[in-house]
């Protein structure tokens, strides 16, 4: 009887964003602040 083994795809395992991308997003989030003034919203990026 044939033995059928399924290999877990290495490609699927690697389906993750780069650390740099996540780090960028977290830093972007920290730097972004939204200022509300009356009915307006201003975005500022603080570095």
């Amino acid at each position: 009887m044939a033995k059928n083994y399924t290999k877990s795809s290495s490609e699927m395992k690697k389906m993750l964003p780069k650390k740099e991308t996540i780090s960028f997003l977290l830093n972007y989030s920290k730097a972004l602040s939204v200022i509300n003034y009356k009915r307006m919203k201003f975005e500022t990026l603080l570095n």
């Binding site: 991308t21 996540i22 997003l25 977290l26 972007y28 989030s29 975005e43």
Partner: protein
């Protein structure tokens, strides 16, 4: 502890200023979102870009307080990434890119018709040599040749200007060319580009 917290709680904490909550949300859903994008675009770099743009949009929406889908964080993020994938394909349809990986190379049909620097120099050299050879011709032949070739006059106009018959002008032109060929052959001058 972090894993127990619901998405909605994390979102709410993030909106209140807890930056760590975003990290947890990204960690929790990154694989599903990334795989979803990759399954559509099949390119790691583009997937990375769209993943990043998706979360930039998420961050901006949350920080502005425009998020109103409590408890449905993942489907909302998936919808953003789906829309960005569609935008990507729309943009590429408007501006198709040609890569040279396939059998067809766009540069085989497009060419730069301008002469390159070397050919320009050679062309100038050839033109200078021809002018010098023309200067050596007898003046009557030279006059007809210059009028015909450089001033683009017809033989009728040349005959009127020089006061000779058209046949004489034609004859002078013919001798001018014969004499030029003779000199070129005699001195093995190469006048090609």
């Amino acid at each position: 502890m972090e894993q127990i917290l619901q998405d909605s709680v994390l979102v709410s904490n993030y909106i209140k200023g807890d930056e760590c909550a975003l990290g947890v949300l990204i960690e929790r859903h990154k694989q599903r979102i990334y795989s979803f994008i990759y399954s559509k675009v099949l390119n790691r770099d583009i997937t990375e870009d769209i993943f990043q743009d998706t979360f930039i949009k998420v961050i901006r929406t949350l920080k502005k307080g425009n998020y109103n889908e409590e408890g449905k964080f993942l489907p909302w993020v998936m919808r953003i990434s789906h829309n960005l994938v569609i935008d990507h394909f729309r943009k590429n349809n408007r501006m198709p890119k040609y890569d040279n990986n396939g059998d067809f190379n766009i540069f085989s049909v497009l060419s730069d018709t301008d002469l390159n620097a070397e050919k320009k120099i050679i062309k100038n050299q050839v033109e200078r040599d021809v002018r010098r050879l023309v200067d050596e011709l007898p003046s009557d032949q030279k006059e007809v040749l210059l009028m015909r070739m450089y001033q683009d006059l017809s033989f009728k106009e040349i005959s009127e200007k020089t006061g000779v018959s058209i046949n004489t002008a034609l004859g002078r032109m013919r001798y001018a060319l014969i004499n030029l060929r003779k000199v070129i052959d005699k001195h093995n001058i190469v006048l090609t580009n």
